[in-house]
């Protein structure tokens, strides 16, 4: 029976928690903006939901003697105009803040470092080309999911990877996202990032991580049989620690 219950367990997207149904804790201004917009729109949606469900309930309840539900009315000019124009106006009002946020998130003005994320079937490859190792090559590494049978106790299934993206906090980072075979999608909910990784195209997106921590993400474009098994793990550490890690590479 427990077996069955677990099947309904849905992992939502920082660290997803079982049965959670709200955002993971934000770590970038972008995600804070997204959250604010989402909650704002939800506010108006709740009002609409209240009105619509009350009307529906009421009409169902008093169907036979409700003048509003008069069943031989075929067309009501006034109400038709009202319920076409009003939703359009509401959508328009929602669209403006949405566009503002969209174009704000799109800006990558003065990044301090660039990380390339390249999607493969089915793993990610990261290149830190701003830095060069002793052999004069750029720092690059691949990141695979830890398979179930190699998981050590406490590791998150299908979320923990063998290598993670190390990034310094309070640094403007540019991610350049592309793919090598099919379309993948580089998505980290806590950072407010979701960019398609298209073969032959470089997409940039910025992130300014405000706190140290570990952030998980998953490939978000169906890319084949192991689509579920190419997670993304970002570890944000202080700048000195990051440089230390860089020297080890």
């Amino acid at each position: 029976m427990l077996n069955l219950l677990n099947m309904i367990n849905i992992i939502y997207n920082d660290v997803p928690t079982p049965y959670s149904c709200y955002f993971q804790d934000s770590a970038t201004p972008n995600q804070e903006g997204i959250l604010e917009l989402h909650d704002n729109i939800m506010f108006y949606l709740f009002i609409i939901l209240g009105l619509v469900s009350w009307m529906l309930f009421n009409i169902v309840r008093t169907y036979t003697k409700n003048p509003m539900a008069y069943k031989y009315i075929k067309h009501g000019q006034t109400i038709e105009i009202l319920w076409t124009i009003l939703p359009a106006v509401i959508l328009l009002i929602i669209a403006f803040p949405s566009f503002i946020l969209l174009y704000l998130c799109d800006e990558v003005i003065s990044p301090a470092m660039t990380i390339k994320a390249i999607g493969y079937q089915w793993y990610w490859k990261y290149e830190y080309s701003d830095f060069i190792n002793d052999n004069g090559e750029t720092i690059e590494f691949e990141s695979y999911v830890i398979p179930d049978d190699l998981l050590e106790e406490g590791q998150l299934r299908l979320l923990d990877t063998d290598t993670s993206i190390m990034v310094p906090v309070d640094t403007h980072i540019r991610f350049v996202v592309t793919a090598a075979d099919v379309i993948h999608d580089f998505c980290i909910p806590s950072l407010g990032i979701k960019v398609d990784a298209n073969p032959g195209r470089l997409n940039q997106v910025s992130a300014l991580i405000q706190r140290e921590g570990v952030f998980y993400g998953q490939c978000s474009e169906l890319c084949g049989i192991n689509h579920c098994a190419m997670p993304i793990k970002v570890e944000a550490v202080s700048l000195p620690k990051f440089l230390e890690w860089l020297n080890d590479q």
Binding site: M7, D25, G154, L156, E212, G213
Partner: protein, 122 residues
Amino acid sequence: MDINKRWETMPNTEQEELVAKLTERQKLPWKELTQNEKQAAWYISYGEWGPRRPVHAKGDQAFIAKGVALGLVLSLGFFFFVRQFAEDDPKTMNKEWQMKSDEYLKSKNANPWGGYSQVQSK
């Protein structure tokens, strides 16, 4: 006279005859109509027959309810049957493991205000 029980089984000619007879009778002052005649006239015009027959007959609701229940039971049965062939839970699905995950996530400062707990198994 029990017109509402006989009416629908009457042959057409008889129905027409009856209607004609009643129409004739209704030309008189209505006070002179007998109770039965009044009832018959009303039934023919407004009774629950022909286009005024209710959409669902008496037993229909029970029939539909039974059908829906049967469908639900069958699909649940199929679901449980299929689940018998399911793989075991992944080894992460136990409390010790999830407590360990929590420790790790805490050390990594995950979800500092929203909560990070992975514990879901008993």
